[in-house]
Symmetry: C2
Subunit: 473 residues, 2 copies
């Protein structure tokens, strides 16, 4: 769940995209529009199986800790060839090239000539699909450019800055029909998938209320000593290294649920979001912001006199968001990244027949076990272990985040190879990501409710669930 991209001094430390980039991007869209128009003219345009008859040609944009982690998993696959790599940091780029050649593949093309060079990667005929794992501010423009260029997109998760960029993603997808998947790995966590299985088997009866969140002490991610990945100092921005260089600034300027999808995506799948159900509105409330300032002043490398002790962090330490769904369910989502605490996504799934919580791996199902007593969830996890996990367990060993990183990339590749819909698509992506800018708006307006756009424009009423239906992906 930790992203990492080493960025060069060319990046504005506030993460803004400069005008030059925007201009270059406009030129790029013009250049690639011929191809896009060609695609759009074919109503049933899609990736053909034949195209990947040999091996799917994948490019990577962003080769920080997260990108190289995904690269390593992709390199394990025999149905993939990595043909292109992009990062503005030459060191990361060379390291990734080495990973590819060590895996026995030929040296991929590299793109590292500044922040817009990814556009040249997208123009390559030798790339079918891209995995994008860059700082959040780049996600939407890169994904849009990739779809315009007809390169299938696997996009890492992030929150949205504005509703309009969500619409831009949706509109680009609907116009180009380029395959797009949001790489939300927690949806593939083993217990999360077993519970999906339980939900579909009505173990909990009718789902009524759920909880989830991103409760992760990121203080040593947000601050480091400028040379190591995690901790060892209280630097961020220009003096920080890796994520601390770009991610921390979001905590300086923004107050909202900055990272909703790990807690929200899995439970959204449980209630068939955008497929017979949808989010209708939310309210968000932020606590005071204390954790990051305290970390700075209490750190041996920090203190009251450290320049960063004067930074005023806008991000409330705990942001609580409540979502009402069209079918009447409520979802409570927590964002909690500034305080000392054990990692927990805090899942709770509750229906008319019982509930499950991951915090103590406990379950209660009416009529099973002792009345009013929690049971360990072990037997349920075994009984409802998802067929996908049963089938691919051995392949997932060693993959990131307890194996779930294997499954999410597996799904992207398999859906693409078989020319089938992406299991977590652009509508999933934007309905989760929109929580970020909507929560910022709600908090800024004293927790006023904010309505979700219907990004499907009504299609949610007829769309059928497709996530995790069988053992294929």
């Amino acid at each position: 769940m930790l992203y990492n991209l080493v960025v060069s001094e060319k990046f504005d430390v506030k993460g803004t995209i400069n005008d030059e980039h925007v201009m270059n991007r406009r030129n790029f869209v013009v250049k690639s529009s011929a191809g896009a128009a060609l695609m759009a003219s074919s109503p049933s345009y899609s990736f053909s199986i034949g195209k990947y008859a040999e091996r799917l040609k994948v490019g990577f944009i962003g080769l920080g800790a997260r990108g190289t982690g995904q690269l390593g998993l992709i390199l394990n696959r025999s149905d993939i060839v990595v043909t292109a790599l992009c990062d503005i940091d030459q060191e990361r780029l060379l390291q990734a090239v080495d990973m590819v050649t060590t895996a026995g593949m030929k040296k991929p093309a590299t793109f590292g000539n500044g922040p817009e060079d990814y556009q040249n990667l997208l123009l390559s005929d030798d790339v079918d699909a891209v995995i994008i794992s860059t700082p959040w501010i780049w996600h939407t423009p890169m994904a849009i450019d990739a779809m315009e260029a007809g390169k299938a997109v696997g996009l890492e998760v992030a929150g949205a800055f504005d509703i309009q960029e969500c619409w831009d993603l949706v509109n680009t997808y609907e116009r180009t029909r380029t395959p797009f998947m949001i790489i939300e790995n927690v949806s593939y966590r083993r217990d999360v998938m077993a519970v999906l299985n339980m939900v579909r088997n009505k173990v909990f009866g009718e789902i009524v209320h759920m909880q989830g969140g991103y409760q992760h002490d990121l203080r040593a991610v947000k601050f480091n000593n400028g040379s190591q990945l995690y901790g060892g100092g209280v630097e961020f921005g220009a003096k920080g290294y890796s994520e601390a260089r770009w991610r921390t600034n979001h905590s300086v300027y923004r107050n909202g649920d900055l990272y909703p999808s790990h807690g929200l995506g899995p439970i959204a799948n449980y209630i068939n979001n955008n497929r017979g159900n949808r989010f209708v509105y939310l309210t968000s409330t932020a606590s005071k912001a204390r954790g990051l300032h305290e970390y700075i002043v209490e750190h041996p490398q920090g203190g009251e006199d450290h320049p960063n002790a004067e930074v005023e962090f806008k991000l409330g330490d705990v942001v609580t968001t409540v979502i009402k769904c069209a079918m009447g369910e409520t979802l409570m989502i927590t964002h909690d990244t500034n305080l000392p605490r054990p990692y927990s996504l805090g899942f709770r799934v509750q229906g008319t027949d019982g509930l499950w919580m991951d915090i103590n791996n406990s379950i209660y199902i009416e009529g099973e076990g002792e009345p009013h007593e929690w049971q360990p969830d072990t037997a349920y996890m075994q009984r409802y272990d998802h067929p996908l996990w049963k089938k691919h367990e051995s392949e997932s060993v060693g993959a990131g985040h307890g194996g779930m990183d294997f499954f999410v990339l597996h799904a992207f590749v398999e859906a693409l190879k078989h020319n089938e819909p992406m299991p977590m698509d652009v509508y999933d992506c934007v309905s989760w990501a929109a929580v970020t800018c909507m929560s910022e708006q709600s908090i800024a307006n004293g927790s006023s409710p904010v309505m979700f756009p219907d990004f499907t424009r009504g299609k949610w009423m007829k769309r059928e669930p497709i996530f995790g239906l069988d053992d294929r992906y």
Copy 2:
């Protein structure tokens, strides 16, 4: 936490107070106004210690399961004499009389001649204080009448129907200065008091976020067979017995957090609500209502054809409320009484140095134990065991709800005897109870924020914390 008052057929099953009662009550206020005026004329009016030199004379209004439970605890005390009992159900009244005489006290006066007879109890010179444990709709009128009559009030918890009745309680208290305490027992739970001790010792650093709630499967309380206290059928209202006769109707007509204080009161004390801090606003969101209907149709005594299968329950199964406090803390409160689940008040107390949760009795304090790993809270509970519990543990054995019922009544009696402020006063009472009608309003308005009145009229800025300061009460 379960109240019980057997009500006669004279009660409107919807729990409304009929016009006749209102008229009688107006007469009563006139009758008792001479006494109230006398009190008000003395600016420093208070109960004198001398008055209770021998024994505090206590009357009980409401002798259902809850009232008789409290009566039993009071009868254990040597500083109390029970002088008056009131219930509209003769059987309950006689049973309570028997309890008193069996305890070696003389036969108390009884008041059972209809729903207004409590007013005659309040006119008795032989009563110093009353414990009120009646259906919720009677709490405010009875408490106001008692304060008007100069009888110290120990009032069981309930949610408010309207902000105005909160103000009526406050205004009556401020005018009469009759001692008033809200009998919120969970505030005295052993772990809750230990955590209070930890909060005051800054174990968690600065408090940032807390959670609590009333998560209690009440289905067998809301429905019974008309003759037993709990379960055995799907009857309520006129055909129900005990709580099912009056409490269930609140789930038919109302959608909000009907019972906030058990989850909110304890954590309100942690952040010095009304004493240097206060609740500023809340939002509430209710899930769909499924649990009670399903219970009726799936019960062996119910079914699709049972008349109650047609009842539309307005109360959402899970109601989630988020409160923002003046000092920047957020509180998340859950009301969850219609679904099968183990009992849990779901406390979480989180600060800049760590957090505690009661769900798995776990704690994490930075610098203690393994980084990022939960610890069992046992050692902390022992180390920070509250002096009050250490001193009175043996007396509390056998008292209701794990001993906490002893402590809450102990506090009422001791504060009264010593002519000291009530540890949970009228401002506490109304700021907790107001959550009910405010959450109803928020839900009815699509989770719009609702502002808390400042019931202290500014005094919260200067008032000092008094709850649980030492081992006395």
